[in-house]
């Protein structure tokens, strides 16, 4: 018998092992739900899979009685717009700050302490202030997400700029590069793949802040809906929404990974 560390599952076995926990959780849920419903048919804590399916169907494919909209898609689109805008703004802000701090010593002296401090502010604590300053509309919600993830992205990318071998920077200067040309042709192109990495790592936080912002003052959105029905323990709404958010996060991560691999082949590690 080989040591455990040297026992590799084959492809099929590996796949089966990966799926096993999900199936196990599903089975556990069904059993638990069944037991609860046997005692109380109106129980809301662990609704039957069938009930979840029919509730989801009504949210996604039947018009809401009061607004005439397909709530699920309205919510999805609203949340995606917010998080999408926030990601674009954070990426831009992060890149600009990182390049400034990483390349220009004066900018580093000016901005680095400020950025470090802002990165430490707990965004959820400052949320009420954001609302007061920016109002309760989209701006404050997007600002919350940006405040939460842009400093991390900026600092991560700034570190990456610092990691660029000094030899490259010197070489570029001996080839006649001005600071601007250096940024444009040496620094920025090498930052793009790292930006994608940084965005992927920030996605979890971005969703967190989005949901928190939507919980406070909103009229639609995935986080809004979850918090609204939370009062009524409507797990038949909350569970599909949570699964959907997870799915969206997974898909976004996958998309980013693919973009990185296709567009920046040179950055992939040697296999």
């Amino acid at each position: 018998m080989r040591r455990l560390i040297n026992q590799h599952p084959g492809r099929a076995a590996g796949l089966a092992l990966g799926v096993l926990p999900f199936i196990a959780l599903l089975v556990m849920y069904v059993i638990a739900s069944h037991l609860r419903l046997a005692e109380n048919p109106d129980d809301k804590l662990l609704p039957a899979l069938g009930k979840i399916a029919s509730t989801f169907h009504s949210y996604a494919f039947e018009e809401d009685r009061r607004s005439g909209q397909l709530l699920f898609w309205v919510d999805t689109w609203a949340s995606l717009k917010r998080i999408g805008s926030a990601l674009v703004i954070s990426a831009t802000l992060g890149m600009v700050l990182a390049v400034g701090i990483g390349v220009v010593p004066r900018a580093r002296a000016l901005l680095s302490p400020l950025l470090g401090t802002i990165a430490m502010i707990p965004p959820l604590a400052i949320l009420p202030v954001l609302f007061i300053v920016l109002g309760l509309e989209e701006t404050a919600k997007i600002a919350l997400i940006v405040l939460g993830i842009a400093p991390c992205i900026a600092r991560d990318l700034a570190l990456r700029v610092g990691e660029l071998p000094k030899e490259q920077i010197i070489k570029a200067q001996t080839l006649g590069a001005s600071t601007w040309q250096l940024i444009l042709r040496v620094v920025l192109p090498q930052l793009w793949p790292r930006l994608i990495d940084s965005l992927r790592l920030s996605m979890g936080s971005a969703w967190l802040f989005l949901i928190a912002a939507e919980a406070i003052a909103s009229t639609e959105g995935l986080g809004y809906r979850i918090f609204l029905v939370r009062r009524y323990l409507a797990m038949d709404v909350i569970l599909p929404y949570v699964v959907w958010i997870t799915l969206l996060a997974v898909l976004t991560d996958l998309a980013l990974r693919l973009i990185r691999a296709r567009a920046f082949r040179w950055a992939e590690p040697e296999r």
Binding site: A24, A32, R36, E39, D42, T55, L136, A217, T219, Y232
Partner: protein
């Protein structure tokens, strides 16, 4: 193979064990220790005082039981009660109907404590406004809460409907700061936020719960089965409640001290707390509470509440009509499905208090 068998057995044990762990349904049986949840609101502060001053313990000891009071976030406490973690919980009549009762948890309003008599209100920006001026505005409030109900009644009173305004769900902790932003022009909330918002310059309180007396009730709700199996719980709680009220409402130094304690515990000062009490119609004696429970008015008010709840889909996805959740009143009067009575007003224990039989 021995290895496969033990693996399968192990997995099976894990499934079953986990499933059992998840399902902690309320076992209906006699017991001696109970959990009751409460949250910070003027109508329920007496519970905190009862716990702190030892009044509750005294009554619990009298019947040989222990009662544990736990303070939590309001909605969280109701959800935990619905999930079976608490035997009793304080809540409004509307939340009782839409959360535990609509969730199939048969609940009894053990104590009818008070009704909101101005504690909830609609405030508009601008001086000299009327309810009708709300037309076309976005209104910030906790969607689907009693504030929403009050708004609906207010709109009705001005001949408007919900489609004449836009509801913006806003967490109650942020209502005050939201109102401070220029974009927000109308809010519905309760005290103490209501007091702060009304105190801002150039605002008008255009509607409040004093115009809807008896519709927003604050109750102590107990799981019906638990109560049935453990009448001692009911007696202890009711006894403690009315003794506490007695202490609070006396005009002596002890009362002043008690009010001071309650004010501090609810995050305000004595003046603020008295301001909240002023707009709370307490049923100060058990007899008053019993009378309110037996009154046909209660049936009319609950009818309004259940209609609002049904119209907003709060009686559950499966509720086809407003009768889906049955409500039982004293004397065999019912509203809704008699075969599905989940919300009960049972003044039996309050009656015992009134008769001095506790």
């Amino acid at each position: 193979m021995a290895r496969n068998f033990s693996l399968r057995a192990f997995l099976f044990a894990v499934f079953v064990g986990a499933a059992l762990l998840i399902t902690q349904a309320a076992r209906a049986a006699e017991k001696t220790s109970f959990n009751v949840a409460w949250s910070i609101y003027v109508g329920w502060m007496p519970w905190d005082y009862a716990g702190q001053s030892g009044i509750l313990k005294k009554w619990a000891d009298k019947y040989g039981i222990t009662i544990k009071l736990t303070q939590m976030d309001y909605i969280e406490s109701i959800n935990q009660y619905t999930a079976g973690k608490f035997d009793g919980c304080v809540m409004t009549n509307m939340d009782m109907l839409t959360i535990p009762s609509a969730g199939g948890v048969d609940s009894t309003a053990l104590i009818v404590g008070d009704y909101s008599n101005g504690n909830d209100g609609v405030v508009l920006k601008g001086a000299g406004k009327k309810m009708a001026d709300i037309k076309g505005q976005s209104v910030n409030l906790v969607e689907l809460s009693v504030s929403h109900y009050l708004l609906a009644r207010g709109l009705e009173s001005a001949g408007l409907a919900e489609r004449d305004i836009k509801v913006v769900n806003t967490s109650d902790a942020d209502i005050v700061s939201a109102f401070a932003t220029p974009g927000v022009t109308a809010v519905v909330t309760w005290k103490p936020q209501l007091a702060e918002v009304s105190a801002m310059p150039k605002t008008t309180l255009v509607f409040d719960s004093s115009k809807t007396p008896g519709e927003i009730l604050d109750l102590m709700v107990i799981n019906s089965q638990v109560l049935k199996d453990n009448p001692k719980l009911g007696k202890a709680l009711v006894g403690a409640w009315y003794e506490t009220l007695g202490v609070m409402l006396a005009k002596d130094a002890k009362a002043a001290a008690a009010l001071e304690i309650m004010a501090k515990a609810s995050g305000t000062d004595l003046a603020g707390f008295k301001g909240q009490l002023a707009t709370t119609f307490l049923y100060t004696t058990p007899a008053a509470a019993v009378a309110a429970s037996k009154s046909p008015d209660l049936v009319k008010k609950m009818d309004l509440v259940r209609k609002f709840s049904f119209d907003h889909g709060l009686l559950g996805e499966g509720a086809k009509t407003v009768d889906a959740v049955g409500i039982e009143f004293p004397g065999g009067v019912t509203l809704g499905n008699k075969a599905n009575l989940k919300l009960r007003f049972d003044p039996a224990y309050m009656q015992m208090a009134a008769d001095g039989k506790l």
